[in-house]
């Protein structure tokens, strides 16, 4: 009777679903957050620290200090500061992971069962919604940059992400020109309306530094989101295979 005992111990579909979503979001979020943290420390943090030298006045753009080296050495590692960065990257990517598994579970039945490869497509879609489209009008800000009111920018960011999510969903899972037109409106409306802007530009860092910062920020996000989707897809394909093998014949 061992098989019977096993079948009796099977968890309900709902419990199974809770475990699948929570464990895959946390595991993939941890992995992607770790990668995001490492990419930040290697590629973004040096640019950020460089910009801070302009923010505090150690370096001056077009100023008396212009003869100082354009790329001074910045600290390689600051334990507390970089440790917190790693921690918050993992936390934020776990949050992204929860959002992505919610969307993937909602799409079950409309889409093929995700695997490691198709998971990358989901990850890139998440990157487009959460990072690329907000950045289309609200570029990643290097320290010292002039910007509009923080609350206004957060509200604009939230609404832009929400409308981009609906737009990508319509493009992926709806058919017909009406849906696609609605998606186009949702994609571009926040940018036609415009993101909150500062009254005047007073950024301290040179444009070269600010541009590199924005590019590095988006590039790191792209890689980390791809890994997030890939790991979730891999875990889901594995869970699906296991549940099919364990199902009684």
């Amino acid at each position: 009777m061992p098989r019977m005992t096993y079948v009796m111990r099977r968890v309900s579909p709902a419990t199974d679903m809770y475990m699948k979503l929570i464990s895959s979001a946390l595991f993939a979020g941890g992995a992607a957050g770790l990668l995001a943290g490492l990419l930040q420390l290697l590629f973004v943090q040096p640019v950020l620290l460089h910009a801070e030298l302009y923010e505090v006045g150690t370096l001056v753009h077009f100023g008396a200090g212009a003869s100082a080296p354009a790329n001074p050495a910045v600290p390689v590692l600051e334990l507390t500061r970089d440790g917190l960065s790693l921690l918050f990257n993992i936390l934020i990517y776990c949050g992204y992971g929860f959002l992505l598994v919610a969307a993937m579970a909602l799409a079950e039945g409309r889409s093929t069962v995700p695997n490691g490869r198709t998971g990358i497509v989901w990850g890139i879609a998440g990157f487009v919604v959460v990072q690329m489209l907000p950045a289309f009008s609200l570029a990643p800000e290097v320290p010292g940059v002039a910007a509009g009111d923080v609350y206004d920018r957060q509200v604009w960011w939230g609404l832009t992400v929400a409308s981009a999510a609906v737009a990508l969903w319509l493009i992926a899972f709806s058919k017909g020109w009406t849906s696609w037109a609605a998606a186009a409106v949702l994609l571009f409306a926040p940018h036609l309306y415009g993101a909150p802007e500062p009254d005047y530009f007073a950024g301290t860092a040179p444009p070269e530094v600010a541009a590199l910062f924005a590019a590095r920020s988006l590039g790191s996000g792209f890689f980390a989101w791809s890994v997030l989707g890939c790991v979730i897809g891999f875990l889901w394909a594995r869970a699906e295979k296991a549940s099919q093998e364990q199902a009684p014949v």
Binding site: A14, S85, L91, I92, G95, A102, A105
Partner: protein, 57 residues
């Protein structure tokens, strides 16, 4: 059939709770870690917010 699990057999009612929980956890974590303006939280998450493209301050 009741022992069948996995996406193919998951009914809508079995999916609603987990999806809602995951979505709320995701929104909650991103809102607090990415947007919370409490002083300590802002300072701890400062570099990540800049690096991830969140409006910071």
């Amino acid at each position: 059939m009741t022992a069948l699990t996995g996406s193919s057999a998951a009914t809508l009612s079995a999916k609603v709770g987990p999806i809602l929980l995951a979505a709320l956890l995701g929104i909650g974590i991103v809102a607090i870690a990415g947007h919370g303006q409490a002083h300590v939280l802002h300072d701890a998450a400062h570099d990540v917010r800049h690096a991830t493209g969140f409006p910071c301050h």
